[in-house]
Symmetry: C2
Subunit: 291 residues, 2 copies
């Protein structure tokens, strides 16, 4: 199955689907395709209509270069539509604090717009060549546990997301054929659970993560079981969680997005707030499979 997914989604298909998605603004299409084709650089990944968290709040940018942390905004000259909370709920949201935003004013004539896009293309090229460490876009590697096992760790900066829980678990020496649970004991770190939660209100949980992603709250929706669950976790041996949140990726596919290592805040966890998890680290160690 994984083999099929990787093969179906090659670069031409990925880019075509990104282009098709880019058209909530009148000229967004034109700008996005022009930047991509003029850059003419298959080592650069793009995401169109990326949800982001910024100091001003959550928003959507028109074109995102994850490796460069650069976003392009197509500026139509009137006030931007509010991002709908419904579509945001399950979305893959990038924390864009400190990212660079470049704007294209499309209220002028085609020659001026083309001129601006030319400058943006140059800026992107310069940004890439100015990076001390640039990792070319590799669709297979970015979705493969192997990459992170070889590397020895996963860091938030790696922009790491897997298509399946099984693939994510391979980073920690776990080789399951099928997984029905969203929380699995770490085979080597005995105080740690590898956790794949939905970090938004769902059938069983009223979960949330703060915009700065430093705090996760896990609140049960079953009032009779809530207290026992909290007490069990507090008194149990598993006070750390490696978190991959279940999100809808940019093409509508399910992804498990790495969020870091979180630790239980015993004092803050209580019946009304649920379990409170605080981020301990943006980096976790990976392990080879033991045969």
């Amino acid at each position: 199955l994984e083999y099929v997914i990787l093969n179906l989604l090659d670069k031409i298909e990925y880019i075509s689907r990104q282009f098709s998605k880019a058209q909530h603004k009148k000229f967004e299409h034109y700008v996005v395709t022009r930047i991509w084709h003029l850059l003419n650089d298959l080592s650069l990944k793009i995401v169109t209509q990326q949800y982001v968290t910024r100091s001003e709040g959550r928003a959507m940018t028109d074109l995102y270069f994850p490796q460069l942390q650069v976003h392009i905004e197509v500026d139509e000259g009137f006030h931007k539509k509010q991002v709908e909370l419904d579509s945001l709920r399950e979305a893959d949201i990038v924390n864009a604090t400190g990212h660079e935003i470049l704007r294209v004013d499309v209220t002028r004539d085609i020659d001026s717009i083309n001129g601006d896009i030319g400058e943006i293309v140059n800026k992107i090229r310069n940004k890439k060549s100015g990076l001390t460490e640039f990792k070319p876009w590799d669709m297979e590697a970015e979705m493969s546990a192997h990459t992170y096992v070889e590397k020895g760790f996963i860091d938030l900066k790696d922009d790491c997301a897997f298509r399946t829980i099984i693939e994510a678990l391979k980073c920690f020496g776990v080789n399951y054929k099928g997984v029905q649970f969203v929380a699995i004991k770490h085979p080597f770190e005995l105080d740690t659970i590898i956790w794949f939660p939905k970090l938004y209100p769902n059938d069983r949980w009223d979960n949330s993560i703060t915009d700065d992603e430093l705090v996760i709250k896990q609140v049960s929706k079953a009032p009779d079981k809530a207290k026992k669950h909290i007490d069990d976790v507090k008194s149990g041996p598993y006070h750390k969680r490696i978190v991959f949140t279940r999100v809808k990726g940019p093409l509508g596919d399910i992804l498990y997005r790495f969020k870091g290592l979180y630790g239980l805040d015993i004092d803050e966890s209580n019946k009304s707030d649920g379990l409170v998890w605080r981020r301990l680290s943006g980096r976790v160690k990976t392990y080879r499979l033991t045969l």
Copy 2:
């Protein structure tokens, strides 16, 4: 009103709408936008999803360069969908006999596809520079009677279509403010009517034009009036018609497309076949407005 239309539809809007339209095939979008952006030539007009008549029958091509008579086909490697007759009925159909068709095979990897598109871009540039007479794309001029009045004639090769009957009539010295009729007497050529028919079955007429566009048949749907209409035209003084057919343009807008000068075939016109008009010329004289 005309002023507004011209201003609304500038090149950036025209191209953006053409891009948005291009996506009935999976990778059509990618190919169309890449060719356009790499050509980077605002003197070249494009039409996406152009209906054409060829010796093999009617079809739709993915990208059309009217000035060069070159079409691009995105080849997905399986049998092409039949063009739906319904959408074809009112469509603006180009006679593509003798036009050049270039194909892009999108069943391979992105590097090969990009390579092919690079070659196509070079071919298009060479074709343009090899033309003895090249008319740069001018959106205002192509929709303005003035262009043809200055030139002294309209020829089929001019790819001439107007947005309004009023604008078309300005080519023949007629300056009406509003027109309710689809047939107006030519002020200078006394055997000629300027005619703006729907050349497909409609409420009142069962009209048709042959694929080679040499013969138009005009058949009334009102059996009681049909014979009288035929007799009146046969015995009347107007045996020639300058024809602009009413079509749906590539962006869904109404256009009046020049088709040439047609003459009545008196012998072939009868109650069952209706009026039979044969093309006499692909070129008609234009006249200045008399003030």
